[in-house]
């Protein structure tokens, strides 16, 4: 029975990825058209802001929450949690978007590189999937329990996202285009 279900799953999964592929092909064609229309648009240049770790620690800080609790004001507690939740959700969405951007830039470079490493690519891909799952989980947990209880998981996401950037560094450095264009350290 399991064998039959898994065989059916293979057929259905192939159908699903084919439909996704067909839809993505249409949107990719539109993206290429848009990027050639607006060459200076920062959304197409791969530039984005990095969120500092201090800010992450602050968003999910328990100290601030402890301080608010000392006021014994339910309305202040509610207001604090509401505001923190909004900021935390914004941070997770921005981090998720940054991670996608980093990976998109990486795959753009990697797909044409002759000296690509299978294991590095595979580990980067797994790390990427793990990060996206973490971001999804964080979004759910922030909505459910609020930011002050999620400091550790947020730090983990931050650390993983940094690892992806560092794993991409040797690759970018070894590419001939990068060697000529990348500015030296200030």
């Amino acid at each position: 029975m399991i064998e039959l279900i898994s065989a059916l799953m293979v057929g259905l999964l192939l159908l699903v990825v084919l439909v996704v592929f067909a839809l993505r092909q249409g949107s990719t064609a539109r993206d290429i058209h848009a990027s050639s229309e607006f060459p200076g648009d920062p959304r197409h240049s791969g530039e984005f802001e990095v969120c500092p770790p201090e800010l992450v620690a602050r968003i999910f800080s328990r100290e601030d929450w402890a301080l608010i609790l000392q006021t014994h004001s339910p309305s202040l507690e509610r207001l604090f949690l509401q505001e923190r939740k909004r900021i935390a959700l914004l941070w997770v969405r921005q981090t998720s978007s940054d991670i996608r951007q980093v990976m998109q830039n990486h795959t753009e470079a990697a797909k044409q590189a002759a000296d690509i490493h299978f294991r590095t690519e595979l580990s980067l891909f797994l790390m990427y999937i793990e990060l996206l799952l973490m971001c999804g989980t964080l979004l759910l947990l922030i909505t459910a329990v609020g930011p002050p209880r999620l400091q550790r998981i947020a730090s983990y996401v931050q650390e993983l996202s940094r690892q992806i950037s560092y794993a991409h560094e040797p690759f970018a450095r070894s590419s001939p285009g990068a060697a000529t264009e990348i500015p030296t350290s200030p």
Binding site: V10, I32, I116, E169, P186
Partner: protein, 253 residues
């Protein structure tokens, strides 16, 4: 009547597809695909002949030509990989390794199953073997499409049609053969019509996408990539430097 139409209705479409392929010289660009269509057309005539004049051989002819068509179909999968990733050596390298890994995995699973049940090879039905071969083909296509999605590979209209049509046919074959193998009569009756119909749908997809030659957008993208890559590499480096400075600050604290 409907049964006969579904079963043999694909013949004129296959002939039209081949004629257009020769007229537009697409046959020389995608030889494996047109060889596959030519083979399917020939096997249909052969089956029709055997069905009419030597019905006792029909079953044998049907299954043996099915096996050969799966093998010829592997050429179509290889052509999708070869033409689609021609301009992308990195993605091509990843696809080669992924497919190799997949085949090794399939081989290990098959050997493990055979070791657990040594009588499998002798007792396996034709449907079962064919289903296994189609599953391997479906997994190869699945891995390739995932890779195309991950590396945002853009296809031209022609290659997109070949992939979509053939993928649709392989996926429906796996589903049909699974129902046929399970022996559930109700589903089997439906799929008896739906399976050839799914091939007719694939033929329509191919006719629409392969009516005329449309180049793959590779050369244009390659030129654009040269400009984008320098910007991307510089932006990535800048981000890493920023990340490092934030990390240094965090360590100092």
């Amino acid at each position: 009547m409907l049964d006969e139409f579904i079963r043999w209705g694909g013949l004129p479409t296959e002939i039209l597809l081949l004629v257009r392929g020769l007229q537009t010289k697409l046959a020389s660009r995608y030889p494996a695909f047109y060889l596959y269509i030519f083979f399917v057309l020939s096997q249909s005539f052969l089956r029709l002949y055997v069905y009419q004049w030597k019905p006792s051989f029909y079953r044998y002819t049907y299954w043996s030509t099915e096996f050969v068509s799966i093998l010829v179909g592997c050429g179509v999968v290889f052509e999708i990989f070869r033409v689609g990733l021609r301009a992308y050596p990195g993605a091509s390298h990843m696809a080669r390794n992924s497919l190799l890994l997949l085949f090794l995995l399939a081989l290990v699973v098959a050997l493990a199953n055979a070791a657990n049940d040594p009588r499998w090879w002798a007792e396996a039905s034709v449907t079962e073997i064919q289903r296994t071969m189609r599953i391997v083909q479906a997994l190869s296509l699945f891995a390739l499409v995932l890779l195309f999605l991950h590396y945002s590979i853009t296809f031209g209209r022609n290659l997109r049609g070949i992939l979509f049509g053939y993928g649709l046919f392989v996926a429906s074959s796996v589903i049909w053969l699974t129902f046929a193998y399970s022996g559930s009569g109700r589903f089997r009756n439906y799929w008896f019509y739906l399976y050839p119909m799914s091939y007719d749908i694939s033929l329509l997809v191919w006719i629409v996408h392969l009516w005329g030659y449309r180049p793959n957008p590779q050369t244009k993208e390659s030129a654009q990539f040269e400009r984008q890559y320098e910007r991307t590499a510089a932006a990535t480096k800048r981000r890493l430097q920023e990340a490092r400075s934030y990390l240094d600050k965090a360590i100092e604290r």
